[in-house]
């Protein structure tokens, strides 16, 4: 029988979910099909999006704690003028590690971790599109993080800033292997981010529940789609830039060598072409969190859904057009700068519209002041200050005074902590019951919210004053008598308060694992699909793939939830739907757990780390990587001919 005829075979008689096979019997068989293999190897080879998402978020929070501790050390050093708590070289290492860890190892991965965990649940499917690619993405991210922090422990941490401008990071002034480790870490993390982004994009476009057309997708899923596309277009820029830097430092190419007609600004263009979209890659998922939380806690849908979605898309596109506002002081032609001033100003319009829609939703609904909504309100108060200081530094004459001063440090902490970490803490509180089956404590939640909100203002508002009083960025100490003593002391105290507040939040997370109230499947009475499954969701997410006919499925579902059936039970299978209107299209076998993504990461790690020392490592190291990838993609032996493979 040729494959052609086999393609038209009628469906074989295999156990399938449906009216005849439903309820606990079905769930027990599905749980067995979708479970991980036993033991430590099984744990390593898990491809369940919930495992990978949880690992991403927990690893990112650990890196947040580590980088937060470094921030406290920096604040202690800066608490009084001419302080000698830590020396200059050590301080430069610490601020580089703080910035690099926060941007590459915490902010982007935690957002992608939440997206990997939530997207399949919110669009009603059983797994991410390329499960093994997701597992490889997490292991590569972990390898990149370990490389950087092992280097920090071994006293060869990079000390060139999180943006590594050559010639300081170049072969002559970037002494030893510090800058190579930074550049190799960037290669790791952006391979991880790209892999996750490709998987998320395919999941959202092809695996939405039947009936969930693009106009009925939850806004967080829209934010995930826009962020993933931004990752796909911006990360290659830093990949190319760091590879060119590595080749400058290893084999003596002249990309950034001004004496041989290379140019230090080539790096800045390539880096910030990635750099600015990256801060929106961190911010847009946070707007997705805010939209979900505002909708649930106002007890109504988001006002003017199309405006919010178009704002997301507009922010995503505009983000690629304003990277030169990081380079206003580099002496480029002034007429070019005025274009980038206008572009930087215009990017605040879509965000302004989103804020209007959130406030209108609160206005129309009856807001319930629980911890997630408190974080959203804290977000709006804090982020708008950051947004407005952003408008201020978009103007060239103002930026020439404020660039690379503590005013900028205040600005980006307002938009990153205020704009992304507050919604993240709200989102963790909001989805914690879904992930663990327990509620986080409300009182401890409120205490840590108020501490982090007020501590944040105390820590970062004085930095505006320090910046105007002439304190440049990345200085390990400052002289007395310049009016910097009070702002820096206040900032140091505030940062301690924030540290304690984050500690309280973590305690709340750990204690509630066992001590928290048991959570019902939909504790907040939320509208979206992920609250249709139990808390925590089973391995296969949905026994039957739900059908969606509005933007708020659970609120409009009545007492019966319409579903489709007919997917196989003893094989991992999920439903593919068309891109625009999500009409059922194909049954797609989902990949089995496999150890090979982990081994592929080990091989890639050996290749990358050894290529810091010799260019031949890239060629020799590629062999094990090819072997691992082949084994990864090699299809498992077909089930005994009980059932023709295609049906």
């Amino acid at each position: 029988m040729t494959p052609a005829e086999r393609a038209k075979q009628p469906p074989a008689k295999v156990p399938r979910d449906g009216p005849k096979l439903t309820g606990p019997k079905l769930e027990e068989k599905l749980a067995e099909t979708w479970s991980n293999p036993p033991g430590f190897i099984g744990w390593l080879s898990s491809v369940d999006h919930k495992d990978i998402g949880r690992r991403y978020v927990i690893t990112a929070l650990i890196f947040l704690a580590l980088a937060g501790a470094l921030a406290i050390v920096m604040r202690l050093q800066l608490s009084k003028p001419d302080n000698d708590l830590i020396g200059a070289a050590r301080y430069n290492e610490i601020f580089t590690m703080h910035g690099t860890t926060m941007m590459f190892l915490f902010a982007v991965p935690v957002m992608q971790g939440m997206q990997i965990y939530l997207t399949p649940l919110m669009i009603g499917t059983r797994s991410n599109a390329f499960p093994r690619l997701n597992a490889f993405s997490y292991w590569t991210y972990l390898a990149g993080g370990c490389l950087l922090w092992v280097a920090f422990v071994l006293n060869i941490a990079p000390d060139i800033g999180w943006f590594a401008y050559p010639p300081l990071s170049g072969p002559q002034f970037g002494v030893g292997k510090r800058a190579d480790i930074w550049a190799q870490m960037v290669t790791f993390t952006e391979i991880a981010a790209l892999a996750a982004a490709v998987s998320l994009t395919a999941t959202i476009l092809k695996q939405r529940a039947p009936g969930m057309s693009l106009a009925r997708m939850p806004i967080f899923v829209w934010a995930t789609l826009v962020t993933s596309l931004m990752v796909i277009f911006s990360m290659p820029s830093v990949a190319l830039a760091s590879s060119l830097l590595l080749s400058d430092r290893l084999v003596g190419t002249h990309f950034y060598n001004p004496a041989e007609n290379g140019d230090a600004l080539l790096w800045q263009h390539l880096f910030w072409f990635f750099g600015h979209p990256e801060v929106y890659i961190i911010f847009l998922p946070a707007t997705g969190f805010v939209s979900e939380i505002v909708a649930t806690f106002s007890r109504r849908t988001i006002v003017m859904y199309p405006i919010v979605v178009m704002s997301l898309v507009a922010t995503g596109i505009l983000a690629f057009g304003l990277w030169v506002h990081h380079m206003f002081a580099t002496g480029l032609p002034r007429i070019g700068y005025s274009f980038y001033t206008a572009a930087s100003m215009s990017v605040s319009i879509p965000t302004g519209l989103q804020i209007f829609c959130w406030i209108a939703t609160l206005w129309e609904g009856r807001p319930r002041l629980q911890v997630p909504l408190l974080y959203v309100i804290g977000f709006i108060f804090t982020f708008v200050i950051g947004g407005l200081t952003g408008v201020i530094i978009a103007a060239v004459p103002l930026d020439l005074q404020l660039h690379d001063t503590y005013f900028i440090v205040a600005h980006f902490h307002y938009v990153l902590i205020g704009g992304a970490v507050f919604p993240l803490l709200g989102a963790i509180t909001y989805w914690y019951p879904k992930a663990t089956g327990r509620m986080m404590s409300e009182t401890l939640g409120k205490v840590s919210f108020w501490m982090i909100f007020l501590g944040f203002q105390l820590a970062f508002f004085p930095m505006h004053i320090a910046g105007i009083n002439g304190m440049p960025r990345r200085v390990y100490s400052y002289p007395a008598g310049m009016g910097l003593e009070l702002p820096n002391l206040l900032s140091s105290i505030g940062s301690m308060v924030v540290a304690v507040a984050v500690l309280l939040f973590v305690i709340n997370m750990v204690v509630s694992l066992r001590g928290g109230l048991k959570a019902a499947p939909n504790p907040w009475g939320a509208p979206s699909l992920e609250w249709a499954t139990s808390c925590p969701p089973p391995k296969y997410n949905f026994p039957h793939i739900p059908v969606v006919d509005s933007r708020t499925p659970l609120w409009d579902a009545g007492e019966k939830m319409s579903v489709v059936h007919g997917l196989r039970v003893e094989e991992r299978e999920l439903l593919l739907t068309t891109v625009m209107h999500a009409k059922p299209d194909l049954r797609e076998p989902s990949a089995e757990p496999s150890i090979w993504p982990f081994i592929a990461t080990l091989a890639t790690t050996v290749m990358f780390v050894s290529s810091i020392f010799s260019p031949w490592a890239v060629v020799i190291g590629a062999m094990p990587v090819i072997i691992a990838l082949t084994a990864w993609f090699w299809p498992k032996s077909p089930a005994p001919e009980r059932e023709p493979v295609i049906s």
């Binding site: 401008y165 002041l369 709006i380 708008v384 408008v391 201020i392």
Partner: protein, 333 residues
């Protein structure tokens, strides 16, 4: 508007310091303070609108809401759309206004710097500033380090170069910062309006001692500037007593002469700051230490403890050599 900007700057910072963006002593910085005031007014108004809307939205208790509880969670009140249009227009008008204000300030800054009557070249090195007053007559070229003297009211064109990594030339009281990039030549315009002693600092991370790479800026009357300029043209003062002579001999024959230059003596190294009129400066080692005898002793004896990682080695001087060198250096007014 002029008084508003000044009042705003006073109430925001306790006092306008020597390195303060709200000082307003330079033409460009005065423009900055005015434009900053305009931006602060517009931004504060927008912030109050958002905060008020948020507070009212959260705290108003009214019955007829459109929520899931009363099955109206999809409906939106009619007033929302016009409110959105008004809000969008408000943002757009605000931003266009601010952008135009920014462009006019740009033009004013460019106009201030268009007819310079003084030309300097500042070359940044890892962790000090090499300053050179250009002049068509080669004998009138003054070379100094880590300090700039400017006549008040005279627009100065500063050509910026770098010998190693990217630095940033920033004197907040006078003007915005401009980067010094190896392989490129950029420029900055300074137009001081008020006399005074100011301090500039490198604002782009440039290595281990980025924090201690400052320069002293003195804006003085034209007469004082000419007097200073004439003094700078003179070669280094010869030693006046035996101790200074011993110091002279050490400095001009031993390690110091390999890197430093003192005009009129055999010491001719140009890879370190020029010491011809060292004692006339206000600070040592690019603003790291104020200029006094104690700091001079500390710096010459062991520069690595004051500014660890900088390129001046600890020579390990015997005590009498140290006394002689300090005596000689103090005489180089």
């Amino acid at each position: 508007m002029q008084r508003g900007g000044a009042y705003l700057s006073l109430c925001v910072t306790s006092c306008a310091g020597v390195q303060n963006a709200f000082g307003g002593q330079g033409a460009e910085d005065a423009n900055f303070v005015r434009l900053f005031a305009v931006f602060m007014v517009v931004c504060t108004v927008m912030y109050l609108i958002v905060s008020a809307a948020l507070v009212i939205a959260v705290w108003r208790r009214r019955q007829a809401t459109r929520t899931i509880e009363d099955r109206k969670h999809h409906e939106t009140s009619a007033a929302t759309r016009p409110a959105l249009i008004v809000w969008t227009v408000l943002i757009a008008v605000g931003l266009v206004g601010l952008t135009i204000a920014s462009f006019f300030t740009d033009r004013s800054n460019a106009a201030n710097g268009s007819k310079p009557r003084l030309s300097l070249t500042v070359t940044a090195n890892q962790w000090w500033w090499d300053v050179e007053y250009n002049s068509p007559d080669a004998s009138k070229i003054v070379r100094t380090a880590n300090e700039i003297h400017l006549p008040v009211g005279v627009p100065a064109q500063v050509t910026l170069k770098s010998n190693d990594v990217i630095h940033s030339f920033w004197i907040p009281n006078l003007a915005g910062k401009q980067d010094l990039i190896p392989g490129r030549v950029t420029d900055a315009q300074l137009l001081p309006r008020k006399t005074g002693l100011f301090r500039g600092q490198c604002a782009e991370f440039c290595g281990v001692q980025h924090a201690q790479m400052a320069l002293d800026v003195t804006v003085e009357s034209k007469a004082d500037f000419d007097r200073w300029y004439a003094a700078q043209l003179q070669p280094g003062r010869p030693p006046a007593n035996p101790l200074q002579l011993a110091g002279y001999r050490y400095v001009t024959t031993r390690e110091c002469s390999s890197c430093h230059n003192i005009s009129g003596t055999p010491a001719g190294g140009h890879v370190a700051p020029d010491l011809t009129h060292f004692a006339s400066r206000r600070s040592i080692a690019a603003g790291a230490l104020p200029m006094n005898r104690g700091n001079l002793y500390g710096w010459v004896a062991d520069p690595q403890s004051q500014k660890p990682g900088n390129h001046m080695p600890t020579v390990g001087l015997a005590a009498n050599d140290l006394h002689a060198i300090v005596a000689y250096l103090e005489a180089l007014k």
